[in-house]
Structure formats: structure tokens, C-alpha cells
């Protein structure tokens, strides 16, 4: 076997020499963040938002539900950073506390549509045939509706609860996941590594779940991240028009809706601060996509 031992050095590209070092997952994340300042910013904002959701309720200076007629409609000041609303509640505290609710709704909704969309798309993309056709027409039908109106309809019909907001948001997002997974699975269906997996004794289902699906994750990460932004907007939007979360629960959509009435009379802070907070949250998730994709793609790990 000596004939074989002079193993060829990696000459493929002449550019990267993989033998130099091997990254663990953390140093890879660090690398992605270092390489792209926008991703770094997105991650910092993300940590901040998650921090607000986890610890916000314990850290805020005032009880978000406590009214005080004496302090109604005060402009932003050192005591009340974002001012106070018409019944004297502290807007800052309410905005921060609302993070947990809005984030939970969107994470639950996105998680649900990710799981259901992946299953449907995976089946359609791998087996094709009539299942694929039926599923595609079904998704087309969902997509044919104006999505927000569809969500409104679902919440209105099923009842005004937080769970129903989650279901509605999930349903309108399923087609995006299903289509993406379907396409990604489809192009890999006949790849060499898939055939090799079958030769190794994997059944079709195992091939799909263990071999093909993980390879669809990097593009899915972009979708998830963008979708988080939409889901937050959607949840806030439903609350804005009076569906879903009910006052006095702090929620960004309701706060903007309530604050809107006061803008004309000059009390701008009621709507602007929750709106800004909402914008930052959506912005963060939109920025986060590319970074997440890079982290989930082993090929970026050189």
C-alpha cells in the first residue's frame, strides 16, 4: 500500500489550504460576525431584543398596567423616557414589556409554519407526482388571497385570542416555506450523495429527513429571519385593527393604534415610540438572515 501513501496535497483550487486549521462552531460564528459588520449589528440588536423579552418585565421602572390620572399625557422626560399615555401609564415600560408578547407570537407562528411547510414541501419535492401537484395548487390558493386579509378573516372567524393570531400568521406563511423546501429538496433529489445514502441502506424517508433536509437549512435560515420580521408586523397589524390582543395588555400594535388618536393633538410620543421599537425589531430580523445562513452553511467553515 505504499504506492498510495503519498497522498496528494489539496491542490484543487490552490487557494484554500484546509490543512491549516479547523474551526469549532463558536470560532466560526465569531468569524462570520467579524467579517460582516452588518451581521454583527444585527446580532447585537437581536440580543438586545431577546434580552428585553426575557428580562424586560423585571427591569422596567414602572408597572406597565398601572394608571395614574395625575401623570396622563406627559411628554418624554427623565422620569418617563417615552412619556406617558392618556391614562398615565409609562410608555417606555409598556414598550419593553410588550417585546415578550410580540416575540412569542412571531416565534411560535414562524416555528409552526416552518415545521408544517417543511413537511409538506419535503414530501412534495421528494416524491413529486400527484402529491406535488395537489399541494402546489393548494398553496397557490392560499397565496391568491391578500395574506393580511386572510389572517384577519381567520382570526375573526376563529375567535379573538392570541393562539388564533399565531395560527393565522402561521397559515399565511406556510406557502413560503413549503415552496422553498420543495425547490431545495427537488434539486437534491437525484444528487450523488442521495443515491449514495440509498446504497448505504437508508429508506426514502430517512434519506429525505437525514440527508436532504439538513442541506436545505442555509437558505431556510434567510427565510425564517425575514419571516420573523413579517410575523411581528402581522401580529402587530392584527392588534392594530382590533383583532387579537386586547387592551390593556401592552402590545406594540395596540399602542400605535391608541397613540394614533393623539398625534393630531400633538402627543406624538404615544405612537412614535412603539412604532420605532417595532421597526427596529423588524429591521433586526431582516438583517439577521444572511448572517444566519452563513453560520448554518458548513461550506463557509473553511
Amino acid at each position: 500500500m505504499t504506492a498510495i501513501s503519498d497522498n496528494a496535497a489539496p491542490t484543487d483550487t490552490g487557494i484554500d489550504n484546509p490543512s491549516s486549521h479547523r474551526d469549532g462552531p463558536f470560532s466560526h460564528i465569531a468569524y462570520v460576525l467579524r467579517e460582516n459588520p452588518v451581521t454583527l449589528l444585527a446580532f447585537l440588536l437581536f440580543l438586545f431584543i431577546v434580552g428585553c423579552a426575557l428580562f424586560g418585565p423585571y427591569l422596567v421602572p414602572y408597572d406597565p398596567l398601572k394608571t395614574s390620572a395625575a401623570h396622563a399625557l406627559q411628554p418624554p422626560s427623565a422620569d418617563h423616557w417615552f412619556g406617558t399615555d392618556s391614562v398615565g401609564r409609562d410608555v417606555f415600560s409598556r414598550v419593553v414589556v410588550a417585546t415578550r408578547l410580540d416575540l412569542s407570537i412571531s416565534i411560535a407562528a414562524v416555528g409552526l409554519s416552518f415545521v408544517i411547510g417543511s413537511i409538506l414541501g419535503g414530501i412534495a419535492g421528494y416524491w413529486g407526482g400527484w402529491i406535488d401537484s395537489v399541494l402546489n395548487r393548494l398553496l397557490d390558493t392560499i397565496m391568491a388571497f391578500p395574506l393580511f386579509v386572510l389572517a384577519m378573516g381567520i382570526v375573526a372567524a376563529m375567535g379573538n385570542t392570541i393562539e388564533n393570531i399565531i395560527y393565522a400568521t402561521a397559515i399565511i406563511n406556510i406557502p413560503f416555506y413549503a415552496r422553498l423546501v420543495r425547490a431545495e429538496v427537488n434539486i437534491r433529489r437525484d444528487a450523488g450523495f442521495v443515491r449514495a445514502a440509498k446504497l448505504a441502506g437508508n429508506t426514502d424517508l430517512r434519506v429525505l429527513i437525514m440527508h436532504i433536509f439538513p442541506n436545505t437549512l442555509p437558505p431556510m435560515m434567510v427565510q425564517i429571519s425575514l419571516n420573523m420580521g413579517w410575523a411581528i408586523l402581522n401580529a402587530a397589524g392584527l392588534s392594530f385593527i382590533g383583532l387579537g390582543v386586547r387592551p390593556p395588555t401592552p402590545e406594540w400594535g395596540i399602542m400605535v393604534a391608541e397613540g394614533a388618536n393623539f398625534i393630531v393633538s400633538g402627543e406624538w410620543w404615544l405612537a412614535v415610540f412603539p412604532g420605532l421599537w417595532l421597526m427596529i425589531a423588524v429591521f433586526t430580523f431582516n438583517l439577521l438572515g444572511d448572517g444566519l445562513r452563513d453560520i448554518f452553511d458548513p461550506r463557509k467553515r473553511t
Partner: protein, 546 residues
């Protein structure tokens, strides 16, 4: 005509600046054909891109100069070089399909080139485009003018690309691997066409290729590149008889010749004795009247038509054919990835063709028939490390776990010559040869009785091909496996196989002993295949000359 002095090209990458070409000097006379030969990563393509200043993003010419007919190509403006591209110097790219715009008729694309360089006006562009198509011997050029690239075969597309490159009568033609991915008979027609055209027009040409045999046949002078530098230069016959640089020697050695055995490809220092195979009389695989018909849009496609053959235990059978001959479909049926339309696959007396391929994945016989895939990169899951990949069949089919599994994986890695520390790498961190080894290790993990090799070296450099072929020969000797070696290259097949089957259009045209068929082919098609293969001088002759 073309002079390059001390050219250096560097690329800006994640790991800092990397020099792809360094200290490269060459001259090219009028009417001369220069071959630049090297393996992947040698910088041969980068050199050609530098001449036309079409380097990829991040690349720049960091030193040296390129003079073409008195013009310094490094100094002139982007606008001026655009005029030179196509009219004075033109290029044929590696993948003809990628070089053509997929949604535009090929004739129109030719017109674009002609009009860009003011070689034609709106009135006579069509006429001239058809003329250009005729010049590359495209039959029925008037109707092909309206064809889209996807409607043409690979060889046809390459002709169109050549027509485009030559449309404005350039003085210098750079051909970057012009026949990679083409069938061997098509390769010959395309190369002959290029040679005839440049001779007729008295052009100069640079042929960039990894195939020393091809270069020796078509070039006046050959330069061998390695790691961005020219290591040797000379006329083809001299390179083959008296290679002076060790790298050239290795390359010359690794190029399969008509009279080679598998060990000839290795350098003398690492040459081991010729393998002794134990071929028995026992029939391992008996294929009877196997057919496969696919349902196509325009009726049924008969991919494989009623073929029958046998493989004995320990024997190695070559399956040779060009694309569309049905050889890959045959391989997929035998490895039970697809179901045959009719016919029998008898494996050790058991009829496997009645078991649906879906069920076969977990069948007891699954471990007996394994396969090494054509493209090692494509056949490895990008999210699995080498170790995961090799363990997969052991986990699934042998239910191995824990320590025994790891011991077996390491044993396999040793067997295929994969250093242990590479086991934790992902495919993209491995070189082509290392990926091939991982694929082979996976295939032999369960000691299969029949190993199907689907062009296992097609995507590899010749020096790595030499090592992989020898590895396969060693493994066959050691483990007593039978091989079905699928390839388009008779010369490579001969190195590993005792018997060979030549397939064309789904049927067997000729079958017999390798030696017999190579020395005295009976069928016209086999003769054509043998004639089309680039023929570097025989090793025996070279030794006599030297």
C-alpha cells in the same frame, strides 16, 4: 507575436493575498500552437484570463507585462482591450453551454459578436453568421441559426462557440480545455476542426489542457505548469522521451498509454509489484435480457435494450460507451437504484430484479452490491464529515455503533490511504483525490462482492487518477471483489479490467477480452472509439528512443 515577461497574478482572498501565477514568461510565434499543460490549480487558466484581462473578482496582474504585436496589454485602457478581445485575441471557454446565452438563438449571438466588432452591418449580419456556422462544419447552418443552445448537443455548442471565437478573424485563439465534458469521438472532431481552422487562417493558438496526450497530438510546443510556474517547456516528443523536471516525469508517467499496465502510471520509487487477481469460474452476476425504457415526452426512450452478460467472482468487467449509450442506466439498474423494465439480474443465483428498488435499500443483499460514484464532490453530503460519510453504511446496514464503528472507519481510511486527521473534515475541505478516497472507503465499507465504479476518475487530475486506479487495483487484489468499471475511456478500462463490453445506443456492440478488443477491434464503432482517443507515444517506443 505574443510575449509575456515575468507575469505574476495574485488574488485577494479571505486568507490574504495568494499568488496564482508567478514569474511566467513565454513567447508565441505566428502560426504556432502552444500547449499549456497542468493539473487543477496550476494557474494555467488564470494565465489565459490575464492575457485577455478577464480575471475574476479580486484578481490582479501584480507584476510583469504582456505584449501583443507591440501593444502592452497591461497598460491600455479597458475600452481598448475590449476592441482587442474577440477581434485580435479570442477565447474558447471550457463549458460551451455556459458560454452561450441560453435564451438567445445561436445565430443571433454570432451576429452580436460580428456587429460589436463592426465586421457586419444589420443587413448582412445574418448572412455572415450563417457563413461562420458553415465554416465550423455545422450541417444545415440556415436552420441551426435559429436553434437555442439547449437544442444542440455539447459538440454542436462547442462548434458554435468556436464559430463565435473565429468570427472576427482573430490572430490569436486561446482554447481553455475546449473538449472537457465532450465524448471522445466528439473531442476528436472538435480538436481536428480547431487545428484545421487555425492552420487555414495561419493563426496562433494557445491550447490549455490537463491532458498531456491531447496536447502532444495538437501542439507544436508544450509548457508544463505547476503551482503557477512553468516547470518545463519543449516539443511534445521530447517531453515524452526525456522529461527533465520531476513533475513532468510524474505527469508523463501518469498519462495512460496504449501498452500500459496499471503500475506503469506510478513513479518508479513507489511502484509495487503487479497485482495478482484471483478470478474464479463461479458466476457472481448473470444479467439476462436486461432492458430499461423511460417514458419521454416524445414517446418511449429505450435507454438499455436487451443486454446480457456475466461477471465471474473476482473478475473485473469494463463497460465502455459514450454519453447516451446506456452504460450509466445499466449501472444504476445493477446497483438497484432503479428498476429494470424487463430482464433478470441473477446475483449468486438469486434473482434481484424482482425486488423493487425501494425495498432493496434495506435488503440483505444491499451490502453485497455497492458503487463508487462519478463525481466525488457530488456524492458526498456537504454537511457530513468524512467520518460520518464512511460510517453511514456501517451504521445502517451492519448496525455498528460506538468504538467498533470508529475502529472500522479508521481501518478503512488506512486501507484507502486517507490520513486519519482528515476524517473530521467536511467535503469542501478535502481535495479531489481525498474525496475520491472517501467515496471508495464508503463503498467498500461492508466488503461488497460486486463494486460498480461509475467513471470514478473522470473528475480527477491524471496524477491522482493514477493513484486512485492503483488503489482500486490493490483493493481488488486484497479483498477479492468483482468490479464493473463504467467508463468512456478504453485505455483506462484496460488498466483495470479483464473483460470489456462496448455499448452504443443502449445495446452491446462488442464484448470480449480487453486485450483482444484493444488490439483487434471487430466492430466499426469500437475502432472509431480507439482511433479517437488521444494517443501519446507508447511507453515501449519511448524507452527505445531514449
Amino acid at each position: 507575436m505574443l510575449t509575456i515577461n515575468n507575469l505574476a497574478v495574485s488574488f485577494q482572498t479571505r486568507r490574504g493575498e495568494i499568488t496564482a501565477v508567478k514569474n511566467l514568461s513565454l513567447t508565441l510565434d505566428k502560426g504556432e500552437v502552444l500547449g499549456i499543460v497542468g493539473e487543477s490549480g496550476s494557474g494555467k487558466s488564470v494565465t489565459s484570463y490575464a492575457i485577455l484581462r478577464v480575471l475574476d473578482k479580486g484578481g490582479k496582474i501584480s507584476a510583469g507585462d504582456i505584449h501583443y504585436s507591440g501593444i502592452d496589454l497591461c497598460e491600455i485602457s479597458e475600452r481598448e482591450i475590449r476592441d482587442i478581445r474577440g477581434r485580435e485575441i479570442s477565447m474558447i471557454f471550457q463549458n460551451p453551454r455556459a458560454a452561450l446565452n441560453p435564451i438567445r438563438q445561436v445565430g443571433k449571438q454570432l451576429e452580436d459578436v460580428l456587429r460589436r466588432h463592426a465586421q457586419a452591418s444589420a443587413q448582412d449580419a445574418k448572412e455572415k453568421a450563417i457563413e461562420a456556422l458553415k465554416s465550423v462544419k455545422i450541417r444545415d447552418a440556415e436552420s441551426r441559426y435559429h436553434a437555442y443552445p439547449f437544442e444542440l448537443s455539447g459538440g454542436m455548442c462547442q462548434r458554435v462557440v468556436i464559430a463565435m471565437a473565429l468570427a472576427c478573424n482573430p490572430q490569436l485563439l486561446i482554447a481553455d480545455e475546449p473538449t472537457t465534458g465532450l465524448d471522445i469521438t466528439t473531442q476528436k472532431t472538435v480538436m481536428d476542426l480547431i487545428r484545421d481552422l487555425i492552420r487555414a487562417r495561419n493563426m496562433s493558438s494557445i491550447l490549455i489542457t490537463h491532458d498531456l496526450g491531447l496536447a502532444s497530438q495538437y501542439c507544436d510546443r508544450i509548457m508544463v505548469m505547476k503551482d503557477g510556474e512553468i516547470v518545463e517547456e519543449g516539443i511534445p516528443s521530447k517531453l515524452f522521451t526525456k522529461p527533465s523536471h520531476p513533475y513532468t516525469r510524474k505527469l508523463v508517467n501518469a498519462t495512460p498509454r496504449p501498452d500500459d499496465s496499471v503500475r506503469c502510471l506510478l513513479a518508479d520509487e513507489i511502484k509495487s509489484p503487479e497485482p495478482q487477481y484471483a478470478v474464479t469460474e463461479e458466476v457472481l452476476l448473470d444479467v439476462k435480457n436486461l432492458s430499461k425504457t423511460f417514458k419521454g415526452k416524445n414517446g418511449d426512450v429505450h435507454a438499455v435494450k436487451d443486454i446480457s452478460f456475466q461477471i465471474l467472482k473476482g473478475q473485473s468487467l469494463g463497460l465502455v460507451g459514450e454519453s447516451g449509450s446506456g452504460k450509466s442506466t445499466t449501472a444504476e439498474m445493477l446497483v438497484r437504484l432503479i428498476d429494470p423494465s424487463s430482464g433478470e439480474i441473477q446475483f449468486e443465483g438469486e434473482n434481484l430484479s424482482t425486488i423493487p428498488s425501494k425495498v432493496f435499500a434495506t435488503h440483505l443483499r444491499r451490502r453485497d452490491i455497492q458503487m463508487v460514484f462519478q463525481d466525488a464532490t457530488d456524492s458526498l453530503n456537504p454537511r457530513h464529515t468524512a467520518q460520518d460519510t464512511i460510517s453511514e453504511p456501517l451504521r445502517r446496514l451492519a448496525k455498528m455503533r460506538g468504538k467498533t464503528l470508529i475502529i472500522r472507519v479508521k481501518e478503512l481510511a488506512r486501507l484507502v490511504g486517507l490520513p486519519e486527521h482528515l476524517l473530521h473534515r467536511f467535503p469542501h475541505q478535502l481535495s479531489g483525490g481525498q474525496k475520491a478516497r472517501v467515496g471508495i472507503a464508503r463503498a467498500i465499507a461492508l466488503n461488497p462482492k460486486l463494486l460498480i465504479l461509475d467513471e470514478p476518475t473522470a473528475a480527477l487530475d491524471v496524477s491522482i487518477q493514477a493513484i486512485v486506479l492503483n488503489l482500486l487495483a490493490d483493493l481488488r487484489e486484497k479483498l477479492g471483489m468483482s468490479y464493473l468499471f463504467v467508463s468512456h475511456d478504453l485505455h483506462v478500462v484496460k488498466l483495470l479490467c479483464d473483460k470489456v463490453i462496448v455499448m452504443r445506443n443502449g445495446g452491446i456492440v462488442e464484448a470480449g477480452d480487453c486485450e483482444d478488443i484493444m488490439s483487434a477491434p471487430r466492430h466499426e464503432y469500437t475502432k472509431e472509439l480507439l482511433a479517437a482517443a488521444p494517443a501519446p507515444p507508447k511507453r515501449k517506443d519511448v524507452t527505445e528512443l531514449a
